[in-house]
Symmetry: C2
Subunit: 530 residues, 2 copies
């Protein structure tokens, strides 16, 4: 499939003329063929302005129409077939089975958001009926529901070229909520972005929607991305990536004359606590599970476990021995970009260089001649040193974990209490361990968005009960998830209608309940029936 | 009742030593007797740290216990009897009937939040059951609910000495959500704050709760208030007041190493659109209603209508004539503080001085000898001048409104489209007017948090469906309300539990549903039964 290398603004190809760039095959360290053109400031302005105009129509489209559109996007993505997978493979180095799974997840989440938009109860409709006889003052008729925020800027992420990029979870949830979307395509997979973007454009056309509801923009994050976040028409930003970039976006958005929310999912160490009973009963299995979670996607998941805590014991020593052996025989892998590879080795080496940190093991696979591959590794330190050294609580985004050995249960609790915000926190324990882990749990609950028991944190289920978010610096807004159906709530705000004639109310609030949604009527939940 | 004039930190009186101040009776322009002591930075630190320690206990208290505490606060406030009303009257100049009503609202909202905390469904519990047989991967058991954020800093507001101060809506909703509270008492009513604070302290004691769950601090907003917003232990800020102060808090909170949400309710012009049919049918009644709304509490409500739009016509002229006559005979009144009085006259005069603005009428009541009273007034301009002059869309917080005359319906729409974010927007129209007002409604819905039809915006009902918030600059976070039961959502965040043993789950998520709350089970709403 021939790529044009341009941005797409309301369905129209952008212009040629600015800085150009090419994607790099990270496995071969070779530039790929297509030349991509960075968008101009004028194009950013056009994309945001057409997005604003299209929002007027899209925001009041019924849930059914939103659902059909989301389903059409999924179909168009599937229709791209092998060409999409091949392009993503060349641009990211991710293996085909992973990309197949990610495409399934991408289409699955588009369809899940379609069901929620179609069903409609997510708008949290509330009706308090008029009380004309109330003393000392009558109560008016008051009705409230969520309405869409406005044009949303979505930043594609490097590590999910499909599931968190052009038509990923952020885009799907924004569309489902009734917002229009302008994507800043990630520079590491611009061809994948163009292919998926063309799929979205075809879905827009086949559904007869205004083309301005979707645009994607190529360009540098610090210039083009910032211009998008600062544009007066932008009403929210969704981002997955580094802490530095996420914080820069948050700072820019907060400093606007009209500040806007930024949902940045940034960094997480995903601590894992291996309690004594679990180590005694299944240390070998834990070592296998930990290494698998730590090296899945060559460590490039935001939920990769980067810190492991345990109490010093013979079982802990045996665990370390098993883990070391497994690490030594672990395969090496290609990282997504040279930037990620460089940042990873720098952060990893900074940790290993800290006095008191000992490299437990490194994969012994022969390095590839090109130097494109990275070897997994694990280091060990003491709780005492961990508590004394902030560097040891920084993220190395890649296949590395630091095991922290504590001398007492109190030291483990002190480590838990010292943690910053996390996406996840995991405990492995037998039932006796868990019964006595309530204090540890309380610490973790206040520092993480998801608590995992006797499993590993990688693999984020897309469902209603998922929470993928957490206290800062895991995300900039701990009140929201970026995965799962609650992600739609990021892109909506409540409006109250007082004494509004029934036919002027949004359908969600009309007397006859034409959408047959759940509503709160005078404080009582009413089922989704007319 | 003798006042001590000190802050109260975890139930203990603060120290003497720093800057002192006295409240002023705004009707008599006389300082009141009690000397109040500003808190030191050390006291702020103590209050926040004891709040953090108490949060560990309070956050897991059952809803029933939270409800009993909120109800005990209401009872203790009522038990203060006349002394509270007399003190508030002396400090604010608000008339006794208003203070009686405000006390009823304050206690009413404490009790309403108690019912929501007791019922428990507000935590939005969601359960997705394990699917161990699912292919290609099993699904774990995932459960999610809202948990409290942490210590909340509440800024008392000048214009609601009871309902939005020490034990007002922000405090009540934070407690109901399971957060601890540290109040920055407003300097205009420190005695009222001490009395209400003592009531809260008595409720803390009678309920056997840790004293650290509540403190209040006297001091200057720019120094002591900022120190509270910047304190590392603070997890959220609630504020009602001026745009300058709200924005300063927002900027400080966003610039923290760990940014926190600021819910600042700041400024609103609350535009009112009088459509031709309504003007023809009931112009005189509209003039009465508008003036009443505009001068309620001598114009010191955040929902005071400050802008009125209408199409030029004979009916519009007649309306203006009626309004002018009513304004001339309107009573003058005492404003809350000399600072508010000065700011009001400055902003009002800046508007009136704009070329093309004409003073329609000013109340003719003889000014009081002291100069403490303010006369209501109304000015008129054209839509053309309104659209050309940003000053005309600034808030004069007090008894003043600007009537904007348009030459065409399109000009009215242009004015609506030019509005910044508002707490409310109001339309008066007969059924023909409203049927043709869909475009106007669409503009207003995107710029306001509450749409009022054929009524006036002052008077904010405390109920489930209320939304008191709106796009910036009405508030800093348009996704949340500060009035009504949804206000609790400001102070909570989701956590997901994966494969957690039933007895370690929060009761809201346990299999037996011991709280008998509504939950979303595999995407289906289930009623509040065990």
């Amino acid at each position: 499939m021939k790529l044009h290398g341009l941005s797409s603004i309301a369905g129209q190809p952008g212009t040629v003329g600015g800085t150009t760039f090419r994607a790099v095959n990270p496995a071969k360290l070779e530039s790929l063929e297509t030349v991509f053109h960075e968008a101009s400031e004028l194009e950013v302005d056009q994309a945001m302005n057409t997005s604003t105009a299209a929002f007027e129509q899209w925001r009041v489209c019924p849930g059914e129409q939103r659902a059909l559109f989301l389903e059409a996007i999924a179909e168009e993505i599937e229709a791209l077939g092998e060409s999409l997978l091949a392009c993503a493979h060349a641009e990211t180095g991710l293996p085909m089975p992973r990309l197949l799974g990610e495409r399934a997840r991408t289409c699955g989440q588009l369809r899940l958001f379609a069901t929620v938009a179609r069903e409609g109860s997510w708008v949290d409709a509330r009706i308090d009926s008029a009380l004309p006889q109330r003393q000392p003052l009558p109560r008016p008729d008051l009705r409230r529901c969520l309405i869409p925020l406005g044009p949303v800027v979505v930043f594609g992420s490097s590590n999910f070229p499909l599931a968190f990029s052009v038509a990923g979870g952020d885009t799907a949830s924004a569309f489902a909520a009734g917002c229009t979307v302008v994507v800043k395509a990630h520079r590491a997979h611009p061809g994948t972005s163009e292919l998926v973007g063309s799929a979205v454009n075809r879905a827009v056309a086949s559904c007869g929607l205004p083309p301005g509801i979707f645009s994607y923009i190529h360009g540098n994050g610090a210039v083009v991305g910032m211009a998008m976040a600062r544009h007066p028409a932008t009403s929210a930003v969704a981002f997955t990536g580094s802490h530095a970039a996420g914080r820069a976006l948050y700072d820019a958005a907060s400093a606007r004359p009209r500040p806007i929310p930024v949902f940045a999912e940034m960094s997480s160490l995903n601590p894992v606590f291996l309690l004594p009973g679990a180590l005694a009963e299944c240390g070998e299995k834990l070592a296998q599970g930990l290494l698998a979670s730590c090296t899945l996607g060559i460590g490039q998941f935001c939920t990769k476990p980067g810190l492991v805590f345990m109490l010093r014991s013979a079982d802990a020593d045996a665990f370390l021995q098993s883990l070391g052996a497994l690490v030594r025989s672990a395969p090496s892998g290609v990282m997504l970009t040279s930037g990620i590879r460089t940042a990873f080795t720098e952060h990893r080496d900074a940790i290993i260089r800290v006095p008191g940190v000992r490299l437990l093991a490194s994969a012994e696979a022969t390095p590839d001649a090109l130097g494109a591959q990275i070897q997994p590794s694990v280091a060990v330190t003491t709780a005492h040193d961990f508590l004394a050294t902030p560097t040891l609580a920084t993220e190395a985004f890649g296949p590395f974990a630091l095991v922290v050995m504590a001398e007492s249960a109190d030291e483990i609790l002190a480590c838990a209490a010292a943690l910053e915000g996390q996406l996840t926190a995991t405990i492995h324990g037998n039932s006796a361990d868990l019964t006595s882990a309530r204090t540890l749990l309380a610490h973790l609950e206040q520092r993480a968005g998801r608590i995992v028991i006797n499993a590993f944190p990688t693999g984020v289920e897309v469902c209603h009960a998922m929470n993928h978010g957490g206290p800062y610096p895991a995300t900039t807004d701990t009140r929201y998830t970026s995965v799962g159906t609650a992600a739609m709530l990021r892109f909506a705000r409540p409006v109250c209608y007082q004494d509004m004639p029934d036919d002027l109310l949004p359908p969600a609030l009309q007397n006859a309940n034409p959408l047959t949604i759940r509503r709160l009527l005078n404080g009582e939940s009413t089922p989704g029936e007319g």
